[in-house]
């Protein structure tokens, strides 16, 4: 049974050039205790998708012309703001990329964690503080009883991100959305945070959506992976299938461009060009201007997501010809 199902989500923003779709027709499901990875280049619409789940877009400049987000028998896109506020931070929690700017610099760690607990669980200040210390312990911050009174600037980047995680899991959410939780961190600290998230997921039994542009991080963490390009899902597959037998040329290109650690290469294979400006609509397949396997047909009709195997979908005409089930 799925905890959350996003169906044909389309999100558009008001820009100088009119309304522009930042995300188009995105669908996916997350089962109980599952980890879903969303990967894609900067600007591919990963964060927009995540923010839509929590209804965090500015109403004045955002339109969601199409789609539904099914959660616990309701459509989150149509839930009133009051009810949404209860879900947000309670049942569905989110961790953001930048641990400095998402913590309030003038409040201590205890204050920031307690705030969530008092709001969602109606705890008293003293009880919330006790629980905050327990949470810091849970996210493996040494000497939690003292650290709880620190201000964000007194903590290192890795510790701040742990505090963010502590806030996110304070109410034992059913679903945790982690939007590039380790991008601002060092490689060794990144490994610590990923280990922590994995352990917590086991301990609390939550589902996790991990967003990253780093295929290595995704491979390490996710069981299923969604690859986004220019606002669309181009491929979706179980992690093992995706990394062993990618179907979409974009996915293959990304995988090839990762510098190898265990052997020398003279030149890295690249995907020429860069992600298209979202204000410039491309007819047909959005990846076609950069694709080595492009055919005339790619430029005229946008390909649909087609099933290629067990839980494996991809959006590519030439590669799927004759293969689609």
């Amino acid at each position: 049974m799925s905890v959350l199902a996003v169906e044909n989500l389309t999100v558009s923003f008001r820009t100088d050039a009119g309304w522009m779709n930042a995300v188009e027709d995105v669908s996916f499901e997350i089962g109980a205790q599952e980890t879903l990875g969303i990967v894609g280049e900067s600007g591919s619409g990963k964060s927009v998708t995540a923010l839509s789940i929590l209804g965090l877009h500015a109403a004045a400049t955002t339109r969601i012309p199409k789609g539904a987000i099914r959660y616990g028998g309701q459509d989150l896109l149509r839930v009133p703001e009051r009810a949404m506020r209860r879900i947000r931070g309670g049942e569905i929690a989110m961790i953001f990329q930048d641990p400095m700017s998402s913590l309030n610099p003038v409040l201590t760690v205890a204050d920031q964690i307690s705030e969530t607990l008092m709001l969602h669980q109606g705890l008293t200040r003293a009880a919330a503080r006790q629980k905050a210390i327990g949470l810091l312990d849970l996210v493996r911050i040494a000497d939690a009883a003292h650290r709880v009174d620190a201000y964000p600037h007194q903590l290192s980047g890795g510790m701040r991100q742990r505090v963010m995680i502590a806030i996110a899991i304070a109410c034992r959410p059913k679903l945790l959305i982690a939007d590039e939780p380790t991008t601002a961190l060092d490689v060794t600290v990144q490994a610590q945070i990923l280990d922590l998230l994995r352990d917590l997921q086991g301990e609390l039994g939550m589902s996790v959506v991990l967003i990253s542009h780093d295929l290595g991080v995704i491979a390490e963490f996710a069981r299923r992976v969604l690859v986004m390009y220019a606002g669309r899902v181009v491929e979706s597959a179980p992690a093992r299938t995706l990394f062993r037998a990618p179907m979409h040329p974009y996915t293959s290109g990304l995988l090839a461009a990762i510098p190898p650690l265990d052997h020398d290469v003279r030149r890295l294979p690249t995907i020429p060009g860069s992600i298209p400006d979202p204000s410039r609509r491309i007819a047909g397949c959005r990846f076609s201007p950069r694709c080595a396997e492009v055919e005339p047909g790619c430029r005229t009709a946008a390909p649909d997501l087609m099933t290629v195997g067990e839980g494996h979908l991809a959006r590519c005409l030439p590669r799927l010809r004759g293969r689609a089930a």
């Binding site: 020429p272 060009g273 410039r280």
Partner: protein, 290 residues
């Protein structure tokens, strides 16, 4: 690799700044207001045949009417005509103070930010200036140079220099830490090149906004000072001294203060819109509203 080809739509950009200004809505409005006010000042003798300083006892305290659009004052002088001529003094003072305090303030702020050794001295100097009442300074200058427009502009400029300097210094301190400044240094750029090419252009936004405020404050301050008898002597009208003279009749003859007050608001609004437009257009990152 031709990845950037056609990704952005910009062919040649020669008269680009002018074109962007022309497209900027608030710049257009502000520009129109300022041009109209300036024309009114320059063409005052053509727009009104009345002598702005000649009093006519018969015509005292006339409310606005067909012959005297803005009414008349306690000497029977036409307020409309006085407002036209007053624009000459007021606009000169506003612009003069904005320019003088802008140039000196920006220079002081940028030099403080770039040459850290003189920063402390410079900022104490600015604090000293800020603490020194502009009125006393104006009285002193008026005594030394005679009560004329020049001494008033200098006195008011001195009063506004410290604030402008602080604003420019604050933004220059941020800019000088950015990597493009280091890039210039690696190539051997000297302090002056860094100031001209890197710091100043990137401090323009806050500076322009500050100067539009200075413009408005200067016009108002001139009013206060003329009231005290400092600055240009009363017969020559300025918006400030028309208001000052109309103070005693504010209740019964509201028009004497109202119309020059309106002119000051209009000029301030115009300058503000103009300043916003300049700020936006000089910043290549901002898309210009149309």
């Amino acid at each position: 690799m031709a990845e950037a080809d056609g990704e952005t739509l910009a062919p040649r950009r020669r008269l680009q700044i002018v074109r962007r200004l022309a497209r900027h809505r608030s710049f257009r409005i502000g520009f129109t207001i300022v041009v109209i006010l300036t024309l009114a000042a320059v063409l005052a003798p053509l727009l009104s045949g009345i002598d702005p300083t000649a009093g006519r006892a018969r015509l005292r305290f006339r409310p606005p009417q067909e012959a005297y659009w803005f009414g008349t004052d306690n000497f029977g002088r036409d307020v409309f005509t006085r407002c036209l001529y007053g624009a000459r003094l007021s606009l000169t003072i506003g612009l003069g103070v904005a320019l003088l305090s802008g140039v000196i303030g920006a220079a002081a702020g940028i030099v403080s930010a770039q040459f850290r050794r003189i920063d402390a001295v410079m900022m104490r100097l600015m604090d000293g200036l800020m603490a020194f009442p502009a009125i006393i300074l104006a009285i002193g200058l008026a005594a030394a140079m005679g009560p004329n427009v020049g001494s008033l502009i200098v006195a008011l400029s001195v009063a506004y220099i410290p604030r402008t300097a602080r604003i420019v210094r604050a933004s220059a301190l941020v800019v000088r830490e950015l990597e493009f400044v280091d890039a210039a240094r690696v190539s051997g750029a000297g302090n002056w090149r860094i100031i001209w090419r890197h710091l100043l252009p990137n401090c323009m936004g806050p500076l322009l906004v500050q100067l539009t405020f200075v413009f408005a404050y200067a016009i108002l301050a001139e009013a206060a000072l003329s009231f005290l008898g400092i600055g240009p002597p009363p017969p020559a009208p300025s918006w400030g001294n028309i208001i000052a003279e109309g103070r005693d009749q504010a209740i019964d003859s509201w028009w004497i203060m109202f119309f020059p007050g309106l002119a000051i608001s209009l000029a301030t609004l115009g300058m503000n819109l103009l300043g916003d437009g300049l700020r936006d257009v000089l910043d290549p990152r901002l898309k210009v509203e149309t």
